[in-house]
Assembly symmetry: C2
DNA sequence: AAAATAAAAACGAACGTTCGTTCATTTTTA
DNA sequence: TAAAAATGAACGAACGTTCGTTTTTATTTT
């Protein structure tokens, strides 16, 4: 039935991915602890015991997802290619790319919150500490030679950049149902970027 | 044994608060679903069944906490009293007050994440929608007559203000253990406020 | 101030479910 | 044809909630 092609995924690999995908969908909807192995099995279309041929435990599924779905692998090269003469152009592009990439698949954003709420930072290193050292040099390189930046501390620029992205999504998710949403400009992302770049105040320094 | 003083809390009220406090401590540590009623009972120092004399269900405990511990009651009057000739002075004070108040008791910040992750916005109205209409007029009043603001949309100013606070705390919590923390300026809050007010770019518009 | 009394609160065993995981077995894959 | 994968019953533990009972509290009556 199956081909002998070298890069043809084996049945086990297919099932493993099906389990991960099922778990993601359920974790995002109801969190980690509220999701049962039976739900994951049903969603993935296999029997309860079958999961354990691919993952030793429920927590191992979560960890596999965290590793496999990390968005920085996709975003980092895109950001590096971001064009722009001025720092403003570059940052606007970088924000746009990041928001678009994360926004089209905000999985990881919520995974981070799940980790934060239900594991209390247990996998923090897995999610962030290993990434920061790889991303920080990028910010350092970008900053070098730029004359149009008020903020020259790479770590601060990086943290506030991440913070802005995170803040955009969480206020978006928390606020969208409330009054504020209706009063917001249509392209909130652009407005957010603008504030990040120029601040809320008029220039007066 | 007990006094007849009018504002002397009754035994029931004391126990009810003890249950809430115990639940908060556990919810913050391990989330909602991972916390059992038995753990809450033990932490509060009473028997399992006793809880149900004060709360009809586990979820009712969570809702009571959300209502009782909402920080806007404390923060709003403080912000209204914030002094400052210029908008910059005022906003800096407002940020300082909010961060100090929330920072000294970041309970609610994390409660919001728990709600977000484990209830998927079920109590969103309880936490935000009822608050926004009360806070928005404050921002509207503040903006009125100010000439030194680039951002004049009250909803946007309010959302970005909240966003900044949220972003500060979440990056603080997520990042503190990683490399970035060690490279950050000591007073990250001030740096964050500065970016919010002036942006990361040099004035050039 | 003491005694009586009804309501409130605390107790912990028990209930029915559901949980994550294991296991012996069968089926499918390579 | 041996290994990998799938099956579903079964395990013990833990879950939220209920319940009958006892103890404590707060108020009323002496």
């Amino acid at each position: 039935m199956s081909q002998k092609s070298k890069d043809m995924p084996t049945k086990g690999e297919i099932t493993r991915l099906a389990i991960e995908d099922a778990a993601i969908e359920l974790f995002l909807k109801q969190g980690y602890h509220a999701t049962s192995m039976r739900q994951i099995a049903e969603q993935a279309g296999l029997a309860l015991g079958g999961i354990y041929n691919h993952f030793a435990s429920k927590e191992e599924i979560f960890e596999a997802i965290v590793l496999d779905k990390h968005p920085y692998k996709k975003i980092l090269p895109l950001v590096l290619e971001a064009e722009g003469e001025t720092m403003e152009d570059f940052l606007q592009n970088a924000v746009k790319i990041t928001l678009k990439e994360i926004g089209s698949e905000p999985i990881y954003m919520k995974l981070m919150f799940i980790e934060f709420v239900e594991f209390n930072g247990k996998h923090g290193a897995l999610m962030l500490s290993e990434i920061a050292p790889k991303v920080l040099p990028v910010f350092e390189r970008i900053i070098k030679g730029r004359k149009d930046l008020r903020v020259t501390n790479p770590a601060l620029l990086m943290r506030s950049f991440f913070g802005m992205i995170i803040s955009y999504f969480i206020t978006d998710m928390l606020v969208s149902k409330s009054v504020i949403g209706k009063l917001m400009p249509k392209d909130a992302a652009t407005a957010y970027t603008d504030i990040y770049l120029h601040g809320v105040l008029k220039e007066s320094v």
